[in-house]
């Protein structure tokens, strides 16, 4: 791969000459990312007439900026309103929203932006310099390894539901079963669809997301006139630039945390078909696991915002690597980029880096520049955007419902999805009011289908030999890590108990 300094500096110059375009694209991307139901893939499709008309370099700058910005924007509504803009930012709700309720919304937004930026930039840099090695990772991450990685995410069901394990597990398994609605992964035969053609492709994630989070949150919200606690309200009213700065300090006190969670995102992103939602949940689970204070996760701590946000942006770099290096798109947005690049006659795969190294590496340079630009456009915004939570709930709740319902409808254009969203809104409300953890439910719905697909595929490849799951070295290392991670909490508990007994004795 022909990497040289002059190549990189040329790409930087090119990107700087299109700075205005990056500003426009990232602004669109952030808005799209924050709106549930709208994502980079359908936006880029809508803008195809533009990207097909301009030079391929310009088109790539535009698409890549918009793509990474949509990952960055997803956290905004998760933090302020407990409504994830997309699956990748669902995990951000866990600690982001509690922070906002405490009046730390501005800091949480800054944390999310800085973590996104650091996660995105570090992984983009790694991609530039280690591309051949990172691309090789795809050769080791097969169905078996994905099964274990997904199990890391699934174990989070038990963690988030630790206050009432039984109910949490019921919610989690109900989620898994809801995720098993729709065509099976081998024969594409519809299952559990109640005869609705709209469910053949599975329960649309966005309807669950909006129903369980937005609609039920709007209903819950009505119990007081503000989403903030009383002290939180006072803090928000007095907030100034100081809080933004505090958020920046908080973030960089946890620089290493941002880096390693970003790398988790990168690795998961490389696997075709695995996306930001898995990356975010796995990173959150890992972050909680290696924390000294795992019990504080879920109450609004900075690490709980950093981990998923950094990971889902790290995932953005990973998503594009299979497209560039082997010519196979890893996700929908990458597939749309493929249309544009083939239209412009750019050959993807190994030949890209021989014939057009500028475009190959340019993608990551654009990421670097786009993240830098976004830091300047988003940080000042935090002060104003975070005021959103000051709107009294009787006004806020109807607005949330009206506008998120659009997001439930938009991706597929079925009226059915609106009714489904309302159904999940009611289910989400009952779950919350009766102690069934909705995040556990959501983890089941998101990760269940991918887990099933990978398990069934691994079994089929092996000729239905269950030992296949322990047949690969990388897989076995991951299994060991999983076993270890399940054991850690008990070991810590045991040592604490012993220490307590010693003190008592």
């Amino acid at each position: 791969m022909n990497l040289s300094l002059s190549l990189l500096s040329d790409q930087f110059l090119l990107n700087f000459s299109y700075l205005w375009l990056i500003v426009i694209a990232t602004t669109i991307g952030i808005i799209i990312g924050a709106m549930p139901g709208f994502g980079s893939a359908n936006t880029i499709i809508m803008l195809l007439p533009f990207t097909l008309a301009v030079d391929v370099e310009v088109a790539m700058i535009f698409m890549v900026s918009l793509f990474v910005a949509s990952h960055m924007g997803g956290g905004i509504t998760s933090i302020l309103l407990n409504i994830p803009g997309n699956g990748g930012s669902a995990a951000t709700c866990l600690d982001g929203y509690p922070m906002a309720r405490k009046g730390l919304g501005q800091q949480a937004l800054v944390l999310s932006f800085v973590a996104s930026t650091v996660g995105g930039m570090v992984t983009a840099l790694m991609s530039i310099f280690l591309l051949p090695y990172i691309a090789r990772l795809a050769f080791y991450m097969h169905s078996v390894e994905m099964v274990v990685i997904l199990l890391f995410g699934i174990t989070l069901i038990a963690s988030v539901a630790s206050d009432n394990m039984l109910k949490g597990l019921i919610a989690g398994f109900l989620g898994l079963l809801i995720g098993a609605i729709g065509a099976d992964h081998i024969y594409s035969t519809p299952r559990g669809t109640f005869g609705f053609i709209e469910l053949y492709d599975g329960v649309p994630l966005i309807a669950v997301l909006i129903g369980v989070f937005a609609i039920s949150e709007a209903l819950i919200m009505m119990e007081s006139t503000s989403v903030l606690s009383d002290t939180g309200r006072q803090m928000m009213q007095q907030s100034s630039w100081k809080e933004t700065w505090e958020g920046v300090v908080m973030s960089f006190q946890r620089t290493w945390h941002m880096i390693w969670t970003g790398i988790i995102g990168l690795i998961i992103g490389i696997v075709p078909g695995a996306g930001a939602s898995i990356a975010a949940f796995v990173a959150y689970q890992q972050s909680r696991l290696y924390s000294k204070t795992p019990e504080k996760y879920g109450t609004g701590i900075p690490e709980g915002v950093i981990a998923p946000e950094s990971a889902n942006n790290g995932c953005a770099s990973g998503d594009l690597i299979p497209l560039l290096v082997i010519g196979v798109p890893g996700g929908t947005t990458a597939a749309v980029m493929l249309i544009v690049m083939t239209y412009h006659g750019v050959q993807l795969g190994p030949r890209l880096f021989i014939q057009n190294p500028g475009i190959g590496y340019g993608v990551f340079i654009t990421m670097l520049v786009a993240y830098a630009v976004m830091l300047f456009t988003t940080l000042p915004l935090t002060r104003w955007v975070s005021k959103l939570v000051l709107i009294p709930t009787p006004v806020l709740a109807p607005i949330i419902i009206a506008f998120t319902l659009v997001g439930a409808f938009a991706p597929r254009g079925y009226m059915f999805d609106l009714w489904l969203t309302l159904l999940f809104g009611a289910i989400g409300y009952i779950c919350r009011k009766t102690g069934f953890n909705v995040v556990a439910l959501l983890i089941g719905v998101i990760l269940g289908p991918m887990l099933e697909a990978n398990v069934m595929r691994a079994l089929r490849i092996s000729g239905n030999d269950p030992w296949v799951f322990f047949s690969s070295p990388v897989g076995n290392i991951l299994w060991a890590a999983l076993a270890f991670s399940l054991a850690i909490p008990s070991i810590v508990q045991w040592r604490r108990n012993r220490a307590a007994r010693m003190v008592a004795a």
Binding site: H142, T189, Y200, I326, Y343
Partner: protein
């Protein structure tokens, strides 16, 4: 599963041409006065999407209308067809861009609510894309004979985008004819299926040729399911399967095609006439060659097929699928 083959339906789509002069001129005058809605039963950015967009760029010139796209992937294309038949108006403004081979196999193996050709007909096809088997560059299989030999000792795994697919039937027919054992692994999409073969999770990939051409040296083509290899220089001169192994496997191709509601053919013969005439004009346009190749389809594969030939090939795939039904369907 068998189709009630009814001559009326075979000829319906083409018949528009004959009856059109008698249809009211008023109806035809304004058509099309708004964009056509294209429904794609596979994912955005997929092979059909790319080909449809390339084709429509030229078609809009002759038709005098633009195109708007929507995507309804799921259950191997069933969702798209169900939505098209039950929720789209039969007015000549709604067309479906699909792929006859895989989608007729899906029709034959899954429980669908629509009927072919009572509910929709193919108006014309735009290319013929052959099924192939290829392996990753690191594979020990240099020829299809190598794979067949090994396959007699152990089960060969081949990735495919989905089970109801001509290349799956091709591979199963090959296994039946040679005594090799083969296990098809569906990945739910062309991208992941290709990636699995390149990264060595499976022994090889069974798919359509054109979507694998961009892989370059990463893929080594072993065989083509047709009587001749129409793009030998792009496929390391892989031999046609029957020539290499002395088998008698029928041609396994995909034909990307447009479909319209059968009701449209009856209610708006003039619109259908305009559609089919302008559809055909595209193939003579020199610009089409450029955009089709840009979209990744080699010019050798571009081939106009009329309504009758689409019907013929649809029928063949339903018969083929019936033969392999137990291997392709979850309902026994």
């Amino acid at each position: 599963m068998s189709i009630m083959l009814n001559r009326r339906h075979v000829l319906l789509a083409g018949a528009g041409a004959v009856f059109a002069p008698f249809a009211s001129a008023v109806q035809a005058a304004g058509y099309p006065d708004k964009p056509l809605q294209v429904l794609i039963p596979t994912g955005e950015g997929g092979g059909v999407d790319q080909a449809a967009r390339a084709f429509n760029r030229i078609w809009s010139k002759y038709l005098g209308a633009n195109f708007e796209y929507s995507y309804f992937p799921g259950a191997s294309g069933q969702v798209g067809y169900e939505v098209f038949v039950s929720k789209r108006e039969a007015d000549g403004y709604n067309i479906l861009f699909g792929n006859i081979g895989p989608e007729m196999i899906m029709y034959a193996t899954q429980k669908v609510k629509y009927k072919y050709p009572q509910d929709f007909v193919y108006l014309g096809s735009m290319d013929v894309d052959d099924s192939v088997i290829w392996v990753g560059s690191g594979s020990k299989f240099k020829t299809i004979q190598d794979m067949v030999e090994e396959g007699k000792k152990r089960e060969i795994t081949l990735s495919t985008s989905r089970l109801p697919h001509p290349s799956t039937i091709g591979a199963l027919a090959l296994a039946e004819a040679t005594g090799m054992k083969v296990r098809m692994i569906p990945y739910g999409g062309g991208g992941p299926a290709r990636s699995a073969a390149i990264t060595g999770e499976v022994d090889g990939c069974a798919t359509f040729l054109s979507s694998s051409l961009g892989l370059g040296d990463q893929a080594r083509f072993l065989t083509v399911f047709n009587e001749t290899n129409r793009a030998p220089e792009l496929t390391n001169n892989a031999p046609p399967v029957n020539q290499a192994l002395g088998t008698k496997i029928p041609q396994m191709s995909g034909q990307r095609a447009i479909a319209i509601h059968a009701k449209t053919v009856e209610a708006y013969p003039d619109r259908v006439k305009k559609l089919s005439e302008t559809f055909k004009q595209v193939f003579a346009d020199p610009d089409y060659k450029a955009v089709a190749e840009k979209a990744g389809t080699p010019w050798e594969f571009i081939q106009y097929g009329d309504a009758a030939s689409c019907q013929e090939s649809a029928k063949e795939f339903v018969e083929l699928a019936d033969r392999y039904r137990p291997l392709l369907s979850a309902t026994k």
